[in-house]
Amino acid sequence: MPRLLKLHTYLVLAFLYLPIAVIVALSFNQSRFGVRWTGFTWQWYLRLFHHHRVAVYAENTLIVAVASTLIATVLGTLLALGLYRYSFRLKGAIRFLIYVPVVIPDIVMGVALLLFFAWVRVHTGWLRLSLTTIVLGHVTFQIAYVALVVRSRLAGLDPALEEAAQDLGAGSYATFRHVTLPLILPGVLAGALLAFTLSLDDFVITFFTAGPGSTTLPLYIFGSVKRGVTPEIHALSSILIAATTVGLVLGRALLRRR
C-alpha cells in the first residue's frame, strides 16, 4: 500500500510538472519546428531580447505588476488590520466576501470588470481600456490574496504586544510603526510577492481589461500561439515560470520567519 501511494505521488507530480519541464527543455532546443531534440542553444532567448516589441510587452507587464501589487498590498494589509482590530456590523459578511475573488471564475470577473469599465466610461468618459484598467482589474483579486496572507500572520500576533507598546508611551501610530508593522512585515511581503506573481502571469482578467497598446506578455503569448508555437514563446514562457517560481519561493521563506 505505501508503495502504491508513492507511485501515485510520482504520477501526480509528473502530470503537474512534465508539461512545464517540456516547455523549458524546448526553449533550449536548436530545432525550430517539432519536438525532436537536436542540440542545446541560447539563441531563442537572445532573439527574444532583440525583439523590440517583446521589450514593450515586458515593460507593460512589469508596470502592471508593480503598480497593482503596491496598491493591493497597502489596501489588503489595511483590510486585514481592520478585520483583526475592530468589530463592527457586517464583519462576518466582509470576512466571507474576501474569499469571493479567490474562488470566482476569472472569466466572470473579467467580463464583469469589462462591463463596469464600459458603464463608467459611458457616464463619465473615464476609464478607457488601458494599462490603468488592467491595474484596477488585478488589484480587485490581489487584495483578497494579500488580506488572507496578512490575516494569517495577524492571527499569530499576541495582542499584549500592542498593549505593551501603548503602556510604554507609544500612541497608535508609533505602536503600528514600531511593533505591529515589523511583526507582520513577513506576512505583508509574502502577500505582496504572491500578488506580484499572480499579476505577472494573469491572462483572463488582463484579456478583458486590456485596451489598444496595453499588451502584456501573457496576452502576447496567447496571440502568437494562435499563429503557431515558436521556440521564442517557449523561452518567454520559461522566463515567466522562473519569475513566478522565484516569487513563490521567496514568499514561503518569508512566511516561515518567526
Partner: protein, 368 residues
C-alpha cells in the same frame, strides 16, 4: 505623616459584552509606596481591575484617579503607570536593550540618557550582559527580569504586575518574590500586584485585597485577613479554615453542632453566624482539658507534609482539621497521634473568629 493616596477607585463597575459583570462597584485606595496585592480565583475581576488602571479597559461606571488625576479620558500611553504583563509581552523583534529602551525612546529622551537609564535598570534586575540578546534566547526568569526593567526604567508612579511569576517554577518563583520585595523597598515605587497564589500575596504585600465575583471581599494587612477573615470566602481562600455554623445565645456564647462554644464576644443573641478557626490554632491533647470549648474526636486521616502533621478529626458534630508542628518533642501541642485514636480538641475562644455574614443561600444585601 499621612499616607498619600496614589490610586483611588470609587464605585468602579465593568460589564463585558454578553453581560458578565467583571467588577461590581469596587472602591479602593492604594497609598504611595505600598506593595498592594489583589488576590482572588480566576475570573474574580482582579485582572480587569489592573487593566482599568493601565487604561486598557474603560469602566462603565465609577471614577478612577491616579496620582490625583481622573484618568477616565487618559489613554494608556499618557498614564503615569507601567505594566508587567502576564506572559511578559517582550517585543520579539527587538534586543533586550531595545525592549528596555522603548519607553524612554517613545518619550524622546536623548540617547545618552537612554543608555544610562537602561544600564541602571539592567543592573537593578541583574541582567547585565544580556543587552544584545533577543527574547527567544532568554530563560523564563530572564524574560521576567527584562519585563520588569522595561517597566521600571520609566520610573512609573505605580507599577502594575499581572501574575508576573505565574509561568515560573516554584524555586525560581520564591527567589523572584524576594527580589521583587527588595526592588519595591529600594525604589519606593507603589506596586499593584495581581495574583491567585494566596501564599505569594501573604508573603509579599503590605496590604492586600481578596476579590470574588467582581467585589472586594476584604481589604487589609495580610495578618488581618488571615487572622480575622470577615467572610467565609476569605477564611477558605486564605489557607484552610474550620467553619462552624453557630446560633448565638448570648453575646459571647453560641450553640453549634459541636456543642456550646464560647467566643470573645460581639454576638447578637438569636442570630446565626459562622465561627472560623484555623487548623493550627486547635489544641490537641490525650487527656481531657477540663475547660470550656472542648470537643472529643477520633483521628480519621493523617497527612504528613514534612514540617506539619495534618489531622482530619471526626467528632460528633462533624469534621475538624488540625495542624501540629512536627518538632519531635513530647510537649502538649507537639504530640503525635495515631489513626483511630481519641483526642481532646480545645478551641481557644480568642481564636474563634466570628464571621458576620448571612449563611447559606440568603441573598446578599445590595452594594452600597
Amino acid at each position: 505623616m499621612n499616607p498619600t493616596p496614589v490610586v483611588e477607585l470609587e464605585g468602579v463597575r465593568k460589564v463585558f459584552d454578553g453581560g458578565t459583570v467583571a467588577l461590581d462597584g469596587v472602591t479602593l485606595t492604594v497609598y504611595e509606596g505600598e506593595f498592594f496585592s489583589l488576590l482572588g480565583p480566576s475570573g474574580c475581576g482582579k485582572t480587569t481591575l489592573l487593566r482599568i488602571l493601565g487604561g486598557f479597559e474603560v469602566p462603565d461606571a465609577g471614577t478612577v484617579r491616579i496620582a490625583g488625576v481622573d484618568v477616565r479620558e487618559v489613554p494608556p500611553y499618557r498614564r503615569p503607570v507601567n505594566t508587567v504583563f502576564q506572559n511578559y509581552a517582550l517585543f520579539p523583534h527587538m534586543t533586550v536593550f531595545d525592549n528596555i529602551a522603548f519607553g524612554l525612546r517613545m518619550r524622546r529622551r536623548p540617547p545618552a540618557e537612554v543608555r544610562r537609564k537602561v544600564g541602571w535598570a539592567m543592573e537593578l534586575v541583574q541582567i547585565e550582559g544580556l543587552s544584545a540578546r533577543r527574547p527567544h534566547e532568554l530563560s523564563g526568569g530572564q524574560k521576567q527580569r527584562v519585563a520588569l526593567a522595561r517597566a521600571l526604567v520609566n520610573e512609573p508612579r505605580v507599577l502594575l504586575l499581572d501574575e508576573p511569576l505565574g509561568a515560573l517554577d516554584l524555586k525560581l518563583r520564591k527567589q523572584l518574590q524576594i527580589e521583587l520585595m527588595r526592588l519595591q523597598m529600594e525604589l519606593g515605587t507603589t506596586f499593584v500586584y495581581v495574583t491567585h497564589d494566596q501564599e505569594e500575596a501573604l508573603v509579599m504585600s503590605d496590604r492586600m485585597a481578596v476579590m470574588q465575583n467582581g467585589r472586594l471581599e476584604q481589604v487589609g494587612l495580610p495578618e488581618e485577613l488571615y487572622e480575622r477573615p470577615k467572610t467565609a470566602f476569605v477564611a477558605r481562600f486564605l489557607g484552610r479554615s474550620n467553619l462552624i455554623e453557630a446560633h448565638a445565645v448570648a453575646p459571647d456564647r453560641a450553640e453549634t453542632p459541636f456543642g456550646p462554644l464560647r467566643v470573645s464576644g460581639g454576638l447578637t443573641p438569636g442570630r446565626r453566624y459562622l465561627l472560623g478557626i484555623r487548623p493550627e490554632k486547635l489544641r490537641l491533647a490525650r487527656e481531657p482539658w477540663n475547660r470550656a470549648n472542648t470537643v472529643t474526636a477520633r483521628v480519621k486521616e493523617i497527612v504528613y507534609t514534612g514540617a506539619e502533621n495534618q489531622y482530619i478529626l471526626e467528632a460528633r458534630g462533624g469534621e475538624l482539621v488540625a495542624y501540629t508542628l512536627n518538632a519531635d518533642i513530647s510537649e502538649p501541642g507537639y504530640e503525635e497521634y495515631d489513626y483511630g485514636e481519641t483526642v481532646h480538641v480545645h478551641l481557644p475562644p480568642e481564636n474563634l473568629v466570628v464571621i458576620d455574614e448571612p449563611i447559606g443561600d440568603e441573598p446578599r444585601p445590595p452594594a452600597p
